[in-house]
Amino acid sequence: MRRARVATVVLLCCLLALALLPLFAEKYYIQLFTKMMIMAIFAMSLDLLVGYTGLVSLGHAAFFGLAGYALAFAAPQYEAANLWLSLPLAMAGSALLALVIGALVLRTSGIYFIMVTLAFAQMVFFVFHDTKIAGGADGIYVYAKPVADIAGWAPFNLENHTHFYFVVLVLLVLVYASLRMLLASLFGRVIVGIRVNEQRMRSIGYRTFRYKLVCFVIAGALAGMAGYFAAAQFGFVSPDILGWHTSGGVLMMVILGGMGTLNGAILGAFAMLLLELGFQGLPVVGGVDIGKHWQLLMGGFIVFAVLLLPHGLLGLGRLASRLLRKPAEVAEAGDG
């Protein structure tokens, strides 16, 4: 109980810090944190599959990228898309793709599931890469950010980077709260049961396929939300956004942060992007440009993190709290 309270306090402090950040941060950092929050939504959507339902997907970028392309289609040339129309449409498109892919891939499990999700995502990748639908391999620009007009009045302006930041922050909080609610619901109990022992779930009467499929669709739609804002922020969409690099990257965030805890997914997304920047910023030492080879360092870091922190970065917090508590308990025992 006490640990839950500490976690809540830490979470609220982080939220407060994020809410106050635009007051003192420069534009560059506001945009950086916007990107981190978008990736955090993406990572949470994958965590729902990997960490809660036990479905390790290597094709999650397909849903992220498709919604990005949906925005590009909705904003042809210099015309801005309407947020209230294009965002639901983009998410519905991702959900539909997840329904189709999920209906097929969820018939497999384990290593086959990983391979088949990868294969389907690569098919989507090549549809955009090898055809002229949206600029082919060159990609396509999203010149104008979506407008939030409701009958001529707009509550915020996404061209303003601070507004954009707060919209994404609100969505991050909404997605987090919705997923917390979902996980405590009947549905949430079922998907976690499926991860732990799917065969027994079937034998006590659950048609597990349906629950996995609905979960896959929800995760796809949320990945779509993230992809939509990623495309809007970056102003450019290319097939890379749907590729296996993107899928692998977000899976790494989930694992790095700590699977099966939404907090870990957020932490993983933030940590990964910060590390990337940190490694890229390293100086030239003795003629070797370390920063240029940041991926090598990143790889090494992840190897060490996985080896030393089986519960991800979030495990560090638990470790710290245990170490902090130890002396107090010892003292109490001494008193008695």
Binding site: F187, R202, G205
Partner: protein
């Protein structure tokens, strides 16, 4: 004699060339315990898996209330009122004892596609889970993780989960396996009580328990039914004595 609630007709399961269950025709009645015994490899657990839908039969029929359920998946058979417990403990180890039973009880709601109201606010489900725990005598352990239960307690939880799904037909695969004598005695009492309003199919090795409980007995050898009928008949059967029971055991 009342109608059989569950009946198999020429039920067969082949694994490659091996007939694990061969041409088995049996009847099961409500308010009775029907024990299935036989040496290792006789096909008892395979028979249980066919009845529960964990395995698909090769041929033959399984009639539940006169309707063929052979080939239905396990979840559908469970929803029709056949509850199975497993020989190898098959529970949700990381969950609390209560959550194991709650999840089983939750399966009786019309749908679990409910995304908003917290699962713990479904009071009927929680009550049903508590009742199942009380029936097997595990209510005092409700809050601990299932993984930290003793082996015997895990066996009890296994039964409680099955009961929480409120089955009409109970398919218990060696519920006494690995239990201490106190736990065994308690479980025998529980099983005796369960035959009220249930058809109990009991796969068991413990002969004392079987003869203490069973209203009917089926002896399986090499996938086939060697003998089936009332316990006195089985005791007297020369074929059974020769194949399985051993003379000294029957003398007691």
């Amino acid at each position: 004699m009342a109608e059989a609630v569950l009946r198999t007709e020429r039920l067969t399961k082949n694994f490659g060339g091996l007939a694990a269950v061969n041409d088995v025709s049996l009847e099961f009645f409500t308010d009775q315990i029907h024990a299935v015994i036989g040496p290792n490899g006789a096909g008892k657990t395979t028979l249980a898996s066919l009845l529960s839908g964990d395995l698909a039969s090769t041929s033959g029929r399984i009639l539940l209330d006169g309707e063929d359920i052979a080939g239905l998946p396990a979840d559908r058979i469970s929803q029709r009122g056949v509850g199975r417990s497993y020989q190898k403990t098959n529970i949700f180890l990381p969950f609390s004892v209560f959550e194991n039973c709650r999840l089983a009880a939750q399966s009786r709601l019309p749908s679990s596609m409910r995304f908003i109201r917290p699962a713990l606010r479904y009071d009927d489900v929680s009550r049903q889970a508590q009742r199942a725990l009380a029936e097997v005598g595990l209510e005092h352990r409700a809050g601990v993780p299932a993984a930290s239960l003793s082996h015997g307690e895990q066996r009890q939880l296994e039964i409680a989960m099955t009961l929480a799904t409120r089955p009409r037909i109970l398919l218990l695969d060696e519920p006494l396996a690995g239990m201490g004598s106190d736990e065994s005695a308690r479980m025998v009492e529980l099983l005796r009580g369960l035959k009220q309003a249930h058809a109990v199919i009991l796969v068991e090795h413990d002969m004392d328990a079987v003869f203490a409980l069973a209203d009917r007995l089926t002896v399986m050898v090499n996938g086939s039914v060697l003998e089936s009928g009332f316990p006195e008949l089985i005791r007297a059967s020369a074929a059974v004595q020769e194949a399985y029971l051993g003379v000294e055991e029957l003398a007691t």
